[in-house]
Amino acid sequence: MSHIQIFDPALCCSAGVCGVEVDQALVSAATDVGWAQQRGAAIERFNLAQQPLAFALNPVVSGFLQRSGAEALPLVLVDGEVALAGRYPNRGELARWASLPGVTDLTVASGGCCGGSGCGCR
């Protein structure tokens, strides 16, 4: 099974309820990750404010921060390679990466920012 790593921006908590306004994307991300974990996906989340060393010691993440800065987070690695940046994955993406059995492609249903991998919103 693939190993999914999500590198979060500096957050007080993973649902982002500490911001001026609760960010729906963070709330959804927290629950989507929980959903995939319950079904056996191997997902780790790293919070920049709590585990900066994990960012610094990973050459891919460290290089990403040098180039694009913390505001370009989150960054998602699947088996160590960049799978997604600038937004959180949806359930369909998580299921595909983790090869969750019996889960069909939910990409459209869960309505990410644009679907598919990589965000073309800019």
Binding site: C18, V27, L48, A49, Q50, Q66
Partner: protein, 596 residues
């Protein structure tokens, strides 16, 4: 003294800065040591002078106090503990990650809750180390963890998952990530705190309504998390003998006795001690011993009336505020220094000059609201109740953001909404709603977010602005609350303190925090000054004299503008008495202008 009788293993003193926690903790430690017990005294007061008191140099290692047999002591500097904690997290990545990224992480870890938890982490072992417990029969703390710290350590599920996996992916554990103790140790520490046979908590207050209301809140909060054995210690009570030749002292005495007679119900049930006001500050073992013995050891009472303080009254500041025609006035300070009263005094004085004023208070007792509502022309009073706001915010988030979530998603969201940040955010939102009104009239508030909160929120705000720009949502100018608070034409921040060591240090810390956020406090107000009231009673004169070096420190080192408000003979409630706070008193009116 009831609180010393049959003392258990652990004694904690809690209360706001300046009420005399450290003095009482020292006196208790000396008392127990002289009764033949082996005692460890632990101070976490940022202004701690325990070393000076006993003539030894203290550190965060246990040191024997030679002048008092069987007594040892140690000092924990909460700021140093927090810095050490930040260094553990940030140190390894300095130079590896971009500087801006590192600075962002450091700000996340600069809040009050980090400091508090780091200090608690430092002394957890004192509650659980078996070797230490054989060595000492009593451990006396001049501080106590707040309910918030203990709740964080008790966070269900999240906490154990966090330590088991070594990953902070569960919930709001930011402040805990760098702690190095084991979960068992925290659990045992919390158990020790809530065991009435092992632990006694002394709520220390002054005989003033505000101070007593403050400890009533602490009492409820700590009771709720299991700190069950509590005593009330009222410190610095003016003896009736001082009333004899001084009507002012007589009035203060009456005011204090009334406050004690009208004690909040929850406190009235607690065992209570009264410690009389002393003319001296805590220096030397003799003074410490005298604190609880009822003798005025070496009382030095000034022979003549000291020269009055050369500082202006509050009315001078109100003149300047009024001249702008509108604006936001934020009165900031630690609990118990009189923020609500001063905010009300400024608002009433502005309204009395015919100006439109909105006073917003977070005073849960809302006694000012009751007194003032409809009583003053041109004055609108509203209230921000932190509990109500937090609950409203929680429900709102669950109803909107949580609407589309499944059961597990909702459970996760609810757990994060129990975090202490939630209250800060909820109050901030209520605050923001009212701040928008300040464009055309005066808004006076007794509550405000700290610089730290503003920095964190502004980081989010900046991010949102950037996104909006990228999406081409142009033509709309974004003004964040931070930008408004940084603009001296729109906002005046007034820092309130008492003329005592710890409150002045705490106020200076608050100022540093605001400056970090690019906000320059406009003025300082020294509240409840005896010196400004020029009392005749020898005891009060001695206390007034001890204020002088502190007021000088504020003028020289901290404040660009200062006003001093006298301690009033009556509780400052009602518009007439509140106006008296702002107006020059007969005594102070004769002072020369400040030289600075």
């Amino acid at each position: 003294m009831l609180f010393i009788d049959a003392a258990p293993r652990f004694l904690f003193f809690t209360g706001k800065g300046g009420v005399g926690k450290t003095s009482l903790a020292c006196a208790t430690a000396v008392h127990l040591a002289e009764a033949g017990r082996r005692v460890l005294l632990v101070s976490t007061d940022p202004a701690s002078n325990v070393g000076q008191v006993f003539g030894v140099s203290l550190s965060n290692q246990i040191t024997t106090v030679a002048t008092v047999p069987r007594l040892s002591a140690l000092e924990i500097d909460p700021k140093a503990a927090a810095q050490g904690y930040r260094d553990r997290i940030v140190g390894p990545v300095r130079g590896l990650l971009p500087d801006t990224v590192v600075a962002g992480i450091e700000e996340q870890l600069s809040g009050a809750c980090t400091t508090e938890i780091a200090a608690f982490d430092e002394f957890t072992s004192l509650l659980t180390d078996p070797a230490l417990l054989t060595q000492f029969e009593h451990v006396v703390f001049d501080t106590a963890p707040t309910g918030h710290t203990i709740r964080l350590l008790q966070l269900p599920g999240a906490w154990s998952q966090f330590l088991d996996s070594g990953k902070g992916d569960a919930s709001c554990l930011g402040p805990l990530a760098g702690l190095d103790k084991q979960r068992d140790q925290y659990r045992h520490a919390v158990e020790a705190l809530s065991d009435p046979l092992r632990t006694r908590l002394m709520l220390v207050a002054r005989a003033q309504r505000g101070s007593l209301a403050e400890v009533a809140r602490t009492h409820g909060e700590l009771l709720a998390i299991g700190f069950s054995r509590q005593f009330l210690v009222v410190n610095g009570v003016l003896p009736v003998s001082e009333s004899a030749n001084d009507p002012y002292a007589a009035a203060i005495h009456g005011r204090e006795q009334r406050a004690l007679a009208e004690l909040p119900d929850s406190l009235a049930l607690l065992p209570r001690d009264s410690v009389p006001l002393k003319p001296f500050n805590l220096v030397g073992v003799d003074a410490v011993r005298a604190l609880l013995s009822g003798q005025d050891q070496g009382a030095s009472v000034p022979a003549s009336t000291p020269a009055p303080l050369a500082v202006p009254p509050l009315a001078i500041l109100v003149d300047e505020i009024a001249a702008d025609g509108h604006g936001l006035v934020m009165v900031m300070g630690k609990g118990g220094v009189g923020k609500t009263t001063l905010a009300a005094a400024i608002a009433v004085e502005l309204a009395a000059r015919g100006l439109p004023v909105h006073l917003t208070t977070s005073d849960p007792a809302a006694h000012l609201t009751q007194t003032l509502l409809g009583a003053v022309d041109g004055l609108l009073v509203s209230s921000i109740d932190p509990h109500a706001e937090t609950e409203r915010y929680r429900q709102h988030v669950l109803a909107t953001r949580g609407a589309g979530l499944d059961a597990e998603g909702r459970a996760l969201l609810e757990e994060d909404l129990r975090s202490p940040c939630t209250e800060e955010i909820a109050v901030f939102q209520a605050f923001s709603r009212i701040v928008r009104e300040a464009g055309t009239s005066f808004v006076v508030m007794d509550t405000a977010p700290t610089g730290h909160t503003l920095l964190l929120l502004d980081a989010t705000g900046a991010y949102h602005r950037e996104i909006a720009r990228q999406l081409g949502n142009s033509g709309r100018r974004f003004v964040t609350p931070m930008m408004q608070l940084q603009d001296p034409h729109q906002t005046k921040v007034i820092i309130v303190t008492l003329a005592e060591t710890t409150p002045v240090l705490e106020a200076a810390g608050l100022q540093a925090d605001l400056r970090r956020a690019g906000i320059e406090p406009w003025a300082w107000v020294v509240n409840q000054s005896l010196a400004a009231a020029a009392p005749a009673s020898p005891l009060l004169r001695a206390r007034a004299e001890s204020e002088r070096p502190l007021v000088e420190t504020v003028v020289r080192q901290h404040a660009s503008r200062i006003a001093v408000v006298p301690m009033l003979a009556e509780e400052p409630v009602g518009d007439e008495r509140l106006r008296r706070l702002a107006s020059p008193t007969p005594h102070v009116a004769t002072l020369e202008a400040p030289s600075a």
